[in-house]
């Protein structure tokens, strides 16, 4: 019998079998494979079989049955192969996702990975996803992040980008975190705001997914009695998936995913895959939250440790300064009494000595030098006192009026008037009373010595941003800023120690208090000293 099909030929040429396609040229010479892959489905073979049956050839009735069974088994095998391939792909993806999540510690990093995985084509391929996190303080599920296109145009653009960019999940998530996270948050801000749900609204589908600890596939949302109509209109889709994110004992949040653009059906397999995916995401989120808390605690501890170290340094420095202060003070006092006696007796002798006496010059020198040394000692003592501040809460208005009262006699002597404008309700300031009193006394003393008789000094206290500020304004001729700098530098006139100004001590005292000591020129050519003090006790 002549056969139409080439099934009985070991080798064939292209003219003999038109069903061998390009790329399958091997089949021309491999007989067994050609028969299985081509001939069994070939219409020519079917015709040959039919003719064989009609001629009553043995086994010709069984052959179609065998071929049909073979084709059925082949189809099943192909289907299983395809299923296996898709599961392998899924496992590979979940493995990749797991690796990325394991190495991610930041909350945003994990969220970027999770939502990228849900929406990426190589992942679950959903069009859009929203994440709602449990806010324990506000006792609600709060919209945190959305991802996906808002319309067809955007979707087209995104899918084109994805098509061109064959990046790994990790790279896609990183790219999303670095370039798109903020804009996506802003893009879906309106929807995220509206998606928030109180945790005690137990009937809400989001809370139900959390309490039942399983995903809910919502269909026909616009007419579904279990879906609040508001929610369906916010999402604008009739089918969406609610996926709870739960660890062993914590409700982390939920993911809402849909295919708002393609309207592709969400299958039970999709749900199952997403459920598997939700576990590592929930754990990663919990870990991120714990890590964040540990980081915060670590930062607090580090800061406390640094503060403690600073305090220790300050204590050591203060102890050293106090020691230096005590030694200086002790030496200075030991010198002061004999110096006073020497100068005092020389002065006494000078009163009773003739103008023409040749020894008068010696006595005058003793008196002058003793006075100079006394001035130096005064400055050294003031400086050593300033090293050891004792701070407490003091009424600055009272302090100012006390100091002014003490200088009243001297001011009257020079016909200088001093007006005080105390700020009402001024809070107490955290200062060393003696030192600040010394500073104000020194400034006023300097003004009295600098001003012409009949001049005026104005003192004003004000409250500025929680600070107590004392402004002392006089009409002394403007002193150039360089000269002011010199005046406010301790022992500035080093070649003549004794001529160092008390103002330098004030500057040193304010520096030690960690406060500014400012001097500015006024419009009328006078000076204004601005002393700023903290209105409340510094936190330890």
């Amino acid at each position: 019998m002549d056969w139409e099909c080439c099934w009985n030929k070991i080798e064939v040429n292209p003219e003999e079998c038109p069903f061998i396609a390009e790329g399958e040229e091997e089949l021309y010479t491999v007989h067994k494979r050609r028969v299985i892959e081509k001939c069994l489905e070939c219409p020519r073979m079917a015709a040959d079989l039919k003719r064989s049956q009609e001629s009553g050839a043995p086994f010709s009735d069984i052959m179609p049955l065998l071929i049909a069974e073979f084709q059925d088994q082949k189809a099943r095998l192909n289907s299983m192969g395809s299923f296996l391939s898709s599961k392998t792909k899924e496992i590979r993806f979940l493995h990749e996702l797991g690796l990325v999540l394991q190495t991610s510690l930041g909350l945003d990093e994990i969220l970027s990975t999770a939502l990228t995985a849900i929406t990426a084509g190589k992942g679950f391929g959903m069009n859009r996803a929203f994440l709602l996190m449990t806010d324990k303080e506000r006792h609600c599920l709060k919209g945190y992040l959305g991802i996906g296109p808002r319309n067809y145009e955007e979707a087209w653009q995104i899918w084109q980008e994805i098509d061109q960019n064959k990046a790994s999940l990790k790279a896609m998530a990183r790219n999303f975190l670095e370039t798109k996270l903020s804009s996506e948050k802003a893009k879906f801000h309106d929807i995220l705001e509206k998606l928030s749900v109180p945790l005690d609204d137990h009937g809400h589908i989001f809370n139900r997914a959390l309490s039942e600890r399983k995903p809910i596939l919502v269909t026909d949302a616009f007419h579904n009695p279990e879906v609040p109509p508001k929610l369906a209109s916010i999402l604008g889709v009739d089918t969406f998936l609610v996926m709870p994110l739960i660890t062993r004992n914590r409700r982390i949040g939920i993911i809402v995913a849909d295919n708002c653009i393609t309207h592709k059906q969400i299958t039970p397999q999709d749900m199952q895959s997403l459920e598997i995916f939700a576990f590592p995401v929930a754990f990663a989120l919990e870990r991120a939250s714990l890590y964040e808390r540990v980081q915060e605690d670590l930062e607090k501890l580090t800061s406390a440790n640094e503060k403690l170290k600073e305090q220790q340094d300050i204590i050591v420095r203060m102890e050293k300064m106090a020691l230096v202060g005590r030694i200086t003070s002790s030496i200075a006092h030991s010198i002061r009494n004999p110096l006073m006696v020497i100068g005092g007796f020389a002065r006494s002798l000078l009163k009773n000595i003739e103008e023409s006496d040749s020894k008068r010059g010696f006595l005058e020198s003793i008196v002058r030098e003793a006075k100079l040394l006394e001035d130096v000692l005064e400055e050294v003592l003031n400086y050593s006192d300033s090293l050891f501040p004792v701070k407490d809460m003091w009424d600055v208005n009272l302090l100012v009026s006390d100091v002014c009262r003490g200088l009243q006699g001297e001011m009257e002597l020079h016909s200088i008037t001093c007006s005080i404008e105390p700020a009402p309700g001024l809070p107490m300031a955290y200062i060393d009373y003696k030192q600040i009193a010394f500073c104000i006394r020194s400034i006023l003393g300097n003004s009295v010595n600098t001003l012409a008789n009949g001049s005026a000094i104005r003192i004003k206290t004000v409250l500025e941003g929680g600070d107590v500020v004392v402004e002392i304004t006089d009409t002394a001729k403007d002193i150039p800023s360089e000269a002011m700098d010199v005046m406010t530098t301790p022992f500035s006139a080093t070649q003549e120690l004794g001529s160092g100004s008390a103002l330098s001590m004030c500057k040193a005292i304010f520096d030690k208090h960690g406060l500014p000591f400012d001097t500015v020129s006024t419009a009328d050519g006078g000076r204004r000293f601005i002393l700023r003090m903290p209105g409340k006790k510094e936190e330890a």
Partner: protein, 126 residues
């Protein structure tokens, strides 16, 4: 002129003050310790006390409190090498405060001021 009690543990300073204040016409009695000062105050009538703050083993501020308590009309001027006591509350009980100096003019001025104030008070009482 007034009768003054100068209390200081330094003999040279007692001598210097005695000389300077006597030159001003005052009658000056000195005491080297708080105990001696208390005895002299009890024994005689004084117009004013010039008191050192740091006496050898005693505190001039304690003596100041004692004087204020027992003789509240007795004016006291603190004379000390320590300017830092000026802002000490216990020093505020004194009528005057002078930092020791080789130039006694400030002390003399302060004595005159306090005595004038006391005289004014006495006049007002009469």
């Amino acid at each position: 002129m007034a009768k003054l009690l100068v209390v200081d543990d330094e003999s040279n300073i007692r001598l210097l003050y005695s000389q300077e204040l006597s030159d001003e016409g005052h009658q000056v009695v000195t005491a080297a310790s708080a105990t001696e000062a208390v005895e002299k105050l009890a024994a005689g009538d004084y117009d004013l006390v010039v008191l050192d703050i740091k006496l050898k083993n005693e505190s001039g501020l304690d003596l100041l409190q004692k004087i204020v308590k027992e003789r509240h009309d007795m004016p006291v001027i603190l004379s000390t090498a320590f300017s830092c006591y000026k802002d000490d509350f216990s020093a505020w009980l004194a009528d005057g405060y002078v930092v020791k100096s080789s130039d006694p003019q400030e002390l003399k001025d302060e004595i005159n001021r306090v005595l004038a104030k006391k005289a004014g008070r006495s006049k007002a009482k009469e």
